[in-house]
């Protein structure tokens, strides 16, 4: 069993590279924990804030004898942020029921991080390498930017109109998924 708490001492000491390694395993699990909020909050924004706050609170996190203590703390932070965000923006009192259902199921000692699959990684790399030029440019522009710039800026940088950029990006992700299927990999099932 992978226990990301092996990185906790370095994270507590303020080592961002240790936190980066922690995020590589923890981010998918934290995102999955927010699935039930997907229709009521922008999960990407909530997740980025939750990861940042997890880093900030890490020096005060104590091991509790179970594995992945920091990951479980991160999941609680993420869910509480999602509830706060929804309450800040909500429009109907009936949303409370949805919020209660969504926050049910506190993370326990069986919460597991994601372990990279070298076979899947290699297959994705091959499929991305096989993309036509324009979809590849859109995909790589997003990856290289890593959220630094909005799509208006990225589209201008690669010489596309925004709608063309988005169409190429959509085509890229669908072509990668189709290519993986031809190799016997259904990526949505792999991540289930």
């Amino acid at each position: 069993m992978v226990d990301l708490d092996v990185l906790l001492a370095d994270i507590r000491s303020g080592d961002p590279s240790a936190f980066a390694r922690w995020m590589a395993g923890a981010e998918p699990t934290m995102r999955d924990s927010l699935r039930s909020f997907a229709a009521v909050v922008d999960v990407e924004a909530v997740l980025q804030e939750a990861l940042l706050r997890t880093w900030q609170i890490a020096p005060r996190v104590e091991l509790d004898g179970k594995t992945n203590s920091l990951l479980r703390v991160g999941i609680r932070i993420a869910r509480n942020l999602a509830v706060s965000e929804r309450r800040r923006a909500r429009s109907a009192p009936s949303d409370d029921d949805a919020i209660d259902r969504a926050r049910a199921g506190d993370p326990d000692g069986t919460t597991l991080p994601v372990v990279p699959d070298p076979h899947l990684r290699q297959a994705i790399s091959k499929c991305a390498d096989a993309l036509p030029a324009q979809p590849a440019r859109a995909l790589h522009a997003r990856i290289e930017s890593a959220g630094r710039q909005d799509d208006d800026t990225l589209a201008a940088e690669v010489g596309m109109r925004k709608n063309t950029f988005l169409q190429n990006f959509t085509r890229a992700r669908k072509l990668v998924a189709d290519c993986l299927k031809r190799h016997g990999i259904d990526i949505s099932l792999e991540l289930a």
Binding site: F19, R31, A45, I124, R142, I143, R171, K174
Partner: protein, 75 residues
């Protein structure tokens, strides 16, 4: 093959998010244009995209993780 929904859906799959005055990540403007089904679909597509990004990154990091790392460094 794209559908009419795809471009606005993929507008929100980026890790870019606007910031509040205190620097916090806020909802993507295009997220509010999606209906509930579209928001759930955007979540699932983003989940898959982040795994693709992590697979293509030398350190196994998605664009979400890279965006957070930049903020740790005060950028």
């Amino acid at each position: 093959m794209t559908t009419p929904r795809d471009p606005p859906l993929d507008a929100v799959t980026t890790a870019w998010r606007p910031r509040s005055p205190d620097g916090a990540a806020r909802s993507h403007p295009a997220w509010h244009d999606l209906d509930d089904e579209g928001k759930r679909e955007a979540y699932e597509v983003t989940r898959i995209l982040r795994s693709i990004e992590a697979a293509l990154d030398p350190e196994g990091l998605s664009t979400t993780a890279r965006a957070v790392l930049r903020r740790l460094h005060g950028l």
